[in-house]
Every structure is written in C-alpha cells, then in structure tokens.
Symmetry: C2
Subunit: 337 residues, 2 copies
C-alpha cells in the first residue's frame, strides 16, 4: 500500500506538503502542487482512512439503524441514505436491530469505538433513552419516521405528518361515498400509529360520522393477525364498506382475507392503505394508498446529518435541531371505488 511518504519522496517534498496539497487548506506553490499531484497520479495513492480517522477523530462514516431491512419500507429509505451519503463522500454502515434495545446498545458502543460521525435512527421507541443519549453526548443524530412528542425541538427529525395524511385519506373515502369505514391500526406504542388513529377519528367526526370502536382492528402480534380480524369483522353486524389500513403490508393481508371470502374489491368493500411500497401497485387489485416519500426521507435525513457533522466540526457544538415533515401523496388505484 503506497502511503504519503512514498508520494512525498517521489515529488521531492515532505509528507507535510503532500498533506497540505490534499487538504487544500494552506498555501503551496503552484510548482510543488503540480509535482505532488503528479506523484499522486503515478503512485495511485489514496490516503489511509484509518490513519486520518485516528488523527482527526472523524471517519466520514454514518450509521443507519433500522428495525429490519426486510420491512418493505426500509430498502427505499436506505437507498436514499446511501445515495446522498456517497455524493458527499460518506460511507454507511447498516445495523438491523429488531428493535431490541440490547442489540441497539451493543451496536452503539461498537460504532462509537469506530469513531463514526453520526447516526440515523429509524427504530426509535418511546423509552429508547440510549438513542436520546447520543444527542446529549454530542453525536449528530437524526430520527426518521418514528419520533415522540418529547423529542421535538430536542432531536432532529425527518418524517411525515401522520395525522394530516390519515385525515386526508379518510376524508377521501368519506367524499367518495363510504359510510362505514373500518381501521386496521398498527402497534399502539408507536406515535405514528396514534397519529394515524387520531387523523382517522378526526376526519370521521368532522363529517358527522360517529367513531365506532368496533370498527377498529388492533394489531396483536405481527400483521398476520389482521387476517382473522378481517374475516371476523366482515362476518359481524359491523361489516364496513371501506377499510383504511395503516400500512401496505396490513393491506396485503386484508386483501388476502377478503379474496378468500369471495368479497369483491372495491365493489363490496374499498381498501385504502398507507406507504406505497413498491409492490402496492402490483397486487390484485392495485392498492390505493397514501404514498410516503421514503427515498426522500433518506436523502433529507442524510443531508441534515452531514450538516450537523460539519457544523460541529466548525463550531464545536451541534446546531439547533430541525424538524422536517415531508409531504405525502394520495394515490388512487383500483382498490377504492
């Protein structure tokens, strides 16, 4: 591996000078600069990141911490993160934690000892203090998708307005003539699902449709529980004319249950969903859904994080936390009438 000394020797200068040419932060005569550049070219030299990292305490590396890359929404976010990171010469380390706080803590300490520059976290839970501590300890940190009231103004956030998105979705259903709208609600320990629940309820009440607890299916364990809940609901006296699913995977299961029962979509019941995962346009019937800007969430989170890193480098402290709520988009396909 060719190092800075080799280049220096070849160019007939000191290692310091080579370093200066590379950083561009100091005056070097045009003549020497040329010779150094030449030597770099000839040797194919590329600086050793470890050595630089050791000296600088910085590594141009960021961590992306997710529950599970196998969840359909994360590959898109991940791609956004990586593209944005690469553009600014950062490398991304992927951590799947299954929301297990033990795993998260392990990862965090490993990553600290690797001198990573910052964290993007998509697995935040209400009591994840080990995550919140990162910011307190001075680590650049961005929360994506999941955050809680107490985080606002304290930690950088890139997400969507879940209340508004759900409100608009349900209002659309009401507007297109649905009267009895069921809700397939995700895990209630996540703020985002509470918000979607609130949005659903508010839209109903604003249009004089009484909120009916019997129409809400609550997630038990895993989204597959919606299979039997859907069948039960459709067989009950509360049979809805529309179902609003708070995520696409839930809608897939619901579609499946409906098909098995021979119920026609959207003729007998409309299904409106949330996420717009890649496959949501490919199922039968293609799903109407609230599109989240996943790729963009990844890009913005990364840009925010890198800004924090640079700011901290210059001023020694983290900038004021920002909260970015991106726009969603209601996509109407064939599962709603």
């Amino acid at each position: 591996m060719t190092n800075i000394k080799v280049v220096a020797e070849l160019a007939g200068v000191s290692a310091t000078t080579v370093s200066r040419v590379l950083s561009g932060k100091s005056y070097v005569s045009d003549d020497t600069r040329m010779r150094v550049m030449d030597a770099i070219q000839k040797t194919g030299y590329s600086p050793n990141v470890m050595a630089k990292g050791l000296k600088m305490g910085r590594t141009n590396t960021i961590v992306l911490m997710l529950p599970d890359i196998q969840n359909l929404i994360f590959p898109m976010i991940t791609r956004g993160v990586e593209d944005a990171a690469r553009q600014k010469n950062y490398t991304v380390i992927l951590c799947n934690t299954d929301e297990n706080s033990g795993v998260e803590k392990d990862y965090i300490s490993t990553m600290k000892s690797r001198l990573v520059d910052g964290f993007i976290v998509g697995s935040m839970l209400p009591n994840s203090i080990h995550i919140r501590n990162l910011r307190t300890e001075g680590f650049p940190l961005v929360l994506i998708n999941r955050f809680y009231a107490k985080d606002e103004g304290k930690i950088d956030i890139v997400a969507i307005d879940n209340f508004k998105a759900a409100y608009n979705a349900v209002r659309y259903l009401i507007g297109s003539g649905h009267k009895k709208i069921a809700l397939a609600l995700g895990r209630e320990n996540l703020y985002l699902y509470n918000e979607r629940h609130r949005g659903y309820r508010a839209a109903l009440e604003d249009h004089n449709i009484p909120y009916n607890e019997n129409l809400v299916m609550r997630e038990a364990t895993g989204s597959s529980s919606f299979y039997s809940m859907t069948q039960a609901l459709m067989n009950s006296e509360n049979r809805p004319d529309a179902i609003f699913a708070t995520s696409d995977p839930k809608a897939f299961v619901i579609l499946h249950a409906l098909h098995e029962m021979g119920i026609r979509i959207p003729k007998d019941v409309s299904v409106l969903s949330f996420d717009n995962v890649t496959l949501s346009g490919m199922v039968e019937p293609p799903l109407s859904t609230v599109a989240q800007p996943f790729y963009d969430i990844g890009v913005r989170a990364t840009n925010n994080l890198i800004h924090q890193i640079q700011y901290k480098d210059e001023k020694g402290v983290l900038p004021q936390p920002l909260k970015e709520l991106l726009e969603t988009d209601l996509i109407i396909r064939a599962s709603t009438r």
Copy 2:
C-alpha cells in the same frame, strides 16, 4: 474518550498489559487480569478501532456490494450477511452500485483506503474484471448469486444450482399435466438466467415436449415489458397452459396482465415462478415458486468470507476457493393446478 492509557494507569499496569488482557494471547497473572478488568469496567473503556486498524491493517469490516437493495431479493440476503457478521464481531458496509462499473470501481478504491477486510459481491457481470482483480490482489472475496464459468475454482461462490432448480420446476409442471409451457426469461447476459433457460429446455426435451422458441418471452428493458409480452402471447395461436417465470417480480407483472385480460389462474393458465420473495405468498393467487435460501446465502457467504480473512491472517495467503451450491425448494401454492 477514555483510552488504553487511562485504564492502564487506573489498574496500575502498563498499556501493554491491558492490551494483553484484551487479546488474551499472552500470559497475564490472574491478579493483574482482575485489576485490569475492573478498570475497564469502571472506565467503560472500549478500544479505538481506528488505532487498532491502523496498527493491524485490519478493521473487522466487510463490504456488501449489491445492484440495488430495493430489489426484493436483497434485503433477505443482507439480513443474513449482517446477522452472521455481527455474531463474529464484524461490521458491514452497504454499497448499491446499480451494476455501474464506474460506481463499483469508486467504491472499491474507497473501501481499500478504509482497509476493509473483504468483499461480498452480488453484482458480478461477465466482464467485471475490477471485481476479479480483488481476489488477485489478495482481498478475500465471495461471489453471491451471480458467477460465471470462468470464475469457478478461482473465486469463492455461494449460490444455487439454477439449471437443476429450473429443471425440477418445469418437470413439476409437466408432471401435473401441462403441455404448453411458456418461459419468461430474464436478462441473458446473466449466467443464472441462461442456466434456468437450459433447465427449462432440458426438462421439456427429456419429456418429449419440443422446445418452442415462440413460447419464450425475453426481457427487453425492465421486467415491465412482460406485461405486453404476456398479453400478446395469450392472444396468439401459441397460448400456453402454463408460464414459468424466472423471477417473482416478473410473475407479479404477468399476474397483473392476466388479471386484466380476465384470464383465470390457475384454471386457464398456471403460473410458476422463482425466488419466493416475502410477498409471493400474499398476491392473488398466492404464487407457486422455487424458493431460494436467500438468508442462508447471506450467512454462508459471510462465514466463508470471514474464514478467508482469518486464514489469510494466519498463513498470509488466501485459501483454495470454495463453491457452495445451496438447495432450493419448490413451494406449491395456488397459482398452479
């Protein structure tokens, strides 16, 4: 950040001794070991990976290079890689390259300067010499999914037997009474699709069904082209009674086209596919498909790679390349009769 010196001082020993306790490679008296352990505990010390990496030329980091994490098969592989890596205390850097060799080369040089320990590559193309060079230059390397005849015996490979898997799938269709089996064939510059093509053809011919070029749909640009090809084929005089799709995403498109035409599956035509991506059991009708052991491919590739890394550490050279072909599994759901 507390470093080895702090620990040493607190324990009343030298830094070397602390290092020895940590590595466990040398004798340390039980008494000192205790004191060191204590000091580590008290200070919350964790070694600086940069410093260690600089010294050792090793970083316990591996690179996973993929076309695009958004392709449905990669999240599973990625998860396998990461789980296996974490278990052995390795960290994984994710690189999406879109199969762009410029991007790949950039990534490779960045990664070299980061002293990564090895590469797992899922984006191999026939002429990817920059990848093959990695092995030549002494980097541990494992190819997953994609490889070519010339790589066998030269580079480590973890994949499946595509010929056999396709052969068995088509034989199953023949055995269940199908007589006119179409093929939805993927990009022909990939060896794996050639093999699936070969398997399809061999199964046909072994059962005295003539191979008919008119029944093979060849991928033009992106899998969406299969939409119109399917419709054309179903309207032609060559209308098949079964379609063998060489990947699940292709099958999704085909299903979609069939639905639009009002063709019943599997009554009018069976669809058998390849991959067993998470969603293949959720579409309508649930897809019969050749299941690939994606997670396991990730795990095995990682274990192989780490073995190479350790072997090279000890003996200074890479071990003989291994080729591992994992078993596939024919999963029959509702899209075949």
